[in-house]
Amino acid sequence: MNAPGGSLLVAEDLKKAYGPTMALDGAAFSIHPGEVVAVMGPSGSGKSTLLHCLAGIVTPDSGSIRYDGQELATMNDARRSLLRRTEFGFVFQFGQLVPELTCVENVALPLRLNGTSRKQAERTALGWMERLEVDDLAKKRPGEVSGGQGQRVAVARSLVTSPRLIFADEPTGALDSLNGERVMELLTEAARSANAAVVLVTHEARVAAYSDREIVVRDGKSRDMERVV
């Protein structure tokens, strides 16, 4: 696969095995700044593993991942954690909000991890919550809000550090169509206006339709559909 110039993140020939199963078997990926790329494929195809590798959550067995010129695959855990804290944002399907913290505290958490003062962090967090239309939930705990609202809080959290790259793993997986669409609309809009790129793992075509481009993962191998069309 050609690595287009000016890519934010380029991965080549990724291999990753969990025990005897090859989760990734030569997958490739690239994304430009500000681009929304959907990663599709049947369940068990390795799309979540691809996302975990790209985000530096797990290291691939072989292959290279370059983010902004830095090689992720050989980076130590502390550096990767730092990168995740400062450059990346994350949205997962569910179970990602700390149940004990209020929503605004949850959104402020990544900033706090970077050492921002509590006041400052919560002010910024509230700003993002407003953009995602959940600012009225600031003082509530995750257990007291609906699934769609919780997901929007999670999106606000993924954006709060102004990351250049957001990883979203089935962000609408637990939501109905209406709520899912709303979350996708808000996520892509907010990401576009902040010029953040989004890696969107999903198996739903209507969610993938919010992307600029998609790649399909099948049996640990990726296909870039841009090239095919």
Binding site: S48, T49, H52, A55, I57, V58, A78, S81, L82, L83, R84, R85, T86, F88, G89, F90, F92, Q93, F94, G95, Q96, L97, V98, P99, E100, L101, E105, L109, P110, R112, L113, R118, R141, E144, R157, S158, D169
Partner: protein, 778 residues
């Protein structure tokens, strides 16, 4: 409500407890082990009174004192017995020389046939010891052939070292020289040990203190797997069972765990009982058969534990609404109220108050009031702690992310946190109180012996008749001995000791070489043949009167059989000031150098040999004991120590230390289990936190804070209650209140150490759970 319905629901719960795959089994096993450990401790406690009683009975049954003032005449049914107890390394050996005087001589319990001269019967433990290597030094003192073993009925512990050896000519040692003529063993009027009221108080409080945390622990153990159980109950509601039914099912599950725990506990207890037969604690050991729990108490345990499990579960579900789609904890539980929580400790204080100042002499403490009061005070800790944790945690301010995570978690579920540390708080509070009580009454139970370890560490008493210089020489040549002070002693009287009224004035006689005499008096000069009279004794009034040259003094013959020796005070006796002797006394009477002692008197003085020993020489003490045995088999030897503790008191104190250590470890185990369970339930959350870059350190710290905050509060409360209770107990025994800070700190430190240990042990699983695998959807 009908019985069939009840039993069906309970049965369903029981089934649930054992099904549910690997997860279900793990939970069942954890609960069983948890409850089982508690049950084992309970059973052990119920067995202790029995064990003590049996031990006491056996000890009484083998007593070999003559309980009548008169020595019985030699007959077919009499026995001569001499005590020859010795010590090997740090173990006491009970020894007796026996000589039956006829075919019907009484036999001690556990001995079927008397050993002949030169033979002995031994306890199994002594047999093993003698058979093992390294016991040559002891063998030297027991030069008898082993012909049999002493049965269990003749021993007070499985590890007791004891022997009966056949002797001859023991009659010569009657009349105060160690031999006793017996017609029967045992106390003809068996006593029940009249226990000191303060000791009773101590034991009562101790049992309460040890059992309370066990109860708390069992309560915690039946709640293992609570969150998962809630989900299961919700599923039951979904398929149509009503609220009451689900509660009964939950109770059934808890009961199943408790029943399994009972079985496990019985197993643990039986194993522990066997183990108890082969260990020795503080020089005490027991036979497994001693540890039979009293049937009534055992039945009580068997009923109370499952019942308690059911009650605890129902109580725990009180604030929980089980809905078909999940469990709803009443969103904002009512603020914990203080007043009824305060009632418990206040009630406890009220029960203890009337006991204050009773003291030891008239301290007939009402057992119910004492136990009840202590119990209420300690239960008060468990009631106050949740309130305290909630109140304090709600006010905790901002801090780092780790702190924030921990505080928020505690604010949301302070009850869980408090429950986890309740056990530790109770154990520490009780232990602090007891330690204070022990330290307070320390002075009463620890006597100063007045022995000065710098001057000697061993004292050997040599019966009269041993050659003076040669004996001292033998000890000096013994391995490890650095200094020998051999003083020969006797009593002088102004009239024959055999005369009708005996002497009216008496004086001491001390004989030794110049170096030895300098240990008892300040001698300006000394050469062999000198004679002194000691001045400045604390109690000697007769000597100045007797001290006139030419006065005839009669030397006491302890055996009373030989002709009396007479010493006429010669001229040239110098008066010298007495000095503190090795026993810390200023003695009076006459002091003669060995050369000045008439030959006729030499056989009638008893030797007191004070020895300094180089403790770095291995088995130095045993070499001395062997020398003493060679000098005279009946020589007795004492190892000096600066203080002497009452044995009973020492064992209670050690029992408490061991007990609270076990209890704390037990609680530590349950803390660990619930910690791990909680972590497992949050696996997904932890993984996603790591995904967006949370440092492992931050999460580790938050786990630490999460336990450390409630523990710190628990320990503070425990200290407050413990010190209060300790002060009251001291007032009850009329002892000055003194806080034994080192032991307070030690106990709190021990509690804190358990927490740190638990946190450390839960870190590896935490780190494993934080791996991104948790993000994968299963």
């Amino acid at each position: 409500m009908n019985v069939r319905q009840w039993s069906r629901d309970l049965g369903l719960g029981v089934r649930f407890a054992f099904t549910g795959g690997r997860e279900g089994w793990i939970r069942a096993v954890l609960t069983a082990v948890g409850v089982g450990l508690g049950v084992a401790v309970l059973l052990l406690t119920t067995a202790i009174p029995n064990a003590l009683a049996v031990r006491h009975e056996r000890e009484e049954a083998r007593l070999d004192y003559s309980f009548s003032a008169e020595v019985p005449r030699k007959a077919d049914d009499t026995l001569l017995i001499v005590e020859t107890d010795t010590t090997f390394r740090d173990k006491d050996v009970r020894g007796r020389l026996v000589e039956p005087e006829g075919p019907d001589a009484p036999r001690p319990p556990g001995v079927d046939v008397y050993p002949a001269q030169g033979e002995m019967v031994v306890s199994p433990a002594l047999k093993r010891l003698l058979a093992s290597g390294g016991s040559a030094l002891l063998r030297e003192r027991l030069p008898y052939r082993i012909v049999g073993t002493i049965g269990e009925s003749g021993l007070i512990g499985s590890q007791e070292l004891a022997y009966y050896a056949g002797g001859s000519g023991l009659a010569a040692y009657l009349d105060g020289d160690g031999a006793t003529r017996l017609t029967a063993f045992g106390n003809p009027k068996p006593t029940h040990e009249a226990t000191d009221p303060v000791l009773v108080l101590l034991i009562l409080v101790m049992i309460v203190v040890l059992l309370m945390p066990v109860a708390v622990f069992i309560a915690a153990a039946v709640r293992f797997g609570g969150e998962r159980r809630d989900r299961r109950l919700a599923a039951l509601r979904l398929i149509g069972s009503d609220g009451r039914m689900t509660r009964r099912v939950a109770a059934g599950e808890a009961m199943a765990g408790a029943l399994l725990g009972l079985v496990a506990g019985t197993g643990f207890f039986l194993i522990g009982r066997q183990v108890a037969g082969s260990v020795e604690v503080l020089g005490m050991s027991a036979w497994p058969s001693y540890l039979n729990p009293s049937p009534l108490l055992a039945a009580l345990v068997a009923l109370a534990v499952p019942a308690a499990a059911v009650l605890v579960t129902l109580f725990a579900l009180r604030g929980v609404v089980i809905e078909p789609l999940g469990v709803v904890r009443t969103a904002r539980p009512a603020r914990r109220r203080l007043w009824w929580r305060l009632l418990l400790p206040v009630g406890g204080l009220a029960m203890l108050y009337p006991m204050i100042g009773q003291g030891r002499t008239n301290g007939d403490f009402n057992q119910y009031l004492v136990t009840g009061g202590v119990l209420l005070l300690l239960v008060g800790v468990t009631a106050l702690l949740p309130w305290l944790v909630e109140t304090v945690v709600a006010r905790l301010g901002s801090g780092g992310v780790a702190w924030q995570l921990a505080v928020r978690r505690l604010q949301l579920s302070s009850g869980t946190a408090a429950r986890m540390v309740n056990g530790i708080a109770v154990a520490v509070a009780g232990a602090i109180a007891l330690q204070m009580l022990f330290a307070g009454v320390d002075g009463d139970y620890t006597e100063s012996t007045g022995q000065d370890l710098r001057r000697a560490q061993l004292q050997v008493t040599v019966p009269e008749g041993a050659p003076l210089d040669a004996t001292a020489e033998k000890f000096a040549d013994t391995k490890g001995v650095t200094k020998v002070t051999a003083l020969w002693e006797g009593y002088l009287g102004d009239a024959s000791w055999e005369s009708e009224n005996g002497p009216t004035r008496t004086s001491e006689l001390t004989v030794g070489d110049c170096a030895a005499l300098r240990e008892v008096a300040k001698l300006p000069s000394c050469k062999d043949g000198d004679m002194f009279v000691l001045d400045g004794s604390d109690y000697d009034g007769d000597t100045p009167v007797l001290n006139k040259p030419g006065t005839k003094l009669y030397l006491e013959e302890p055996g009373g059989s030989r002709d009396e020796s007479v010493w006429t005070i010669p001229a040239g006796v110098r008066e010298v000031p007495s000095a503190k002797d090795p026993r810390n006394l200023k003695r009076g009477g006459f002091a003669l150098t060995t050369g000045a002692l008439p030959k006729s008197l030499a056989a009638s003085v008893r030797g007191e040999v004070y020895l300094s020993v180089d403790q770095s020489v291995p088995d130095a003490d045993d070499h001395v004991r062997n020398t003493a045995f060679h000098v005279d088999p009946m020589a007795s030897l004492m190892t000096w120590s600066a203080t002497k503790q009452d044995r009973k008191y020492a064992s209670i104190r050690s029992g408490l230390l061991i007990g609270s250590a076990c209890v704390l470890l037990l609680i530590g185990a349950s803390l660990l289990v619930s910690q791990l369970e909680q972590l497992r339930d949050r696996r997904k959350l932890l993984s996603s936190l790591v995904a967006f870059g949370t440092r492992r350190r931050t999460l580790g710290l938050s786990v630490l804070w999460q336990t450390a905050i409630p523990i710190a509060l628990g320990l503070l409360l425990a200290m407050a209650v413990g010190l209060t209770l300790g002060a009251i107990l001291l007032r009850m025994t009329d002892t000055a209140i003194r806080v034994d800070w080192p032991s307070v700190l030690a106990m709190t430190g021990f509690g804190a150490a358990v927490v740190v240990l638990v946190t450390l042990l839960s870190l590896p699983p935490l780190i494993r759970l934080m791996r991104p695998d948790g993000l994968r959807t299963e």
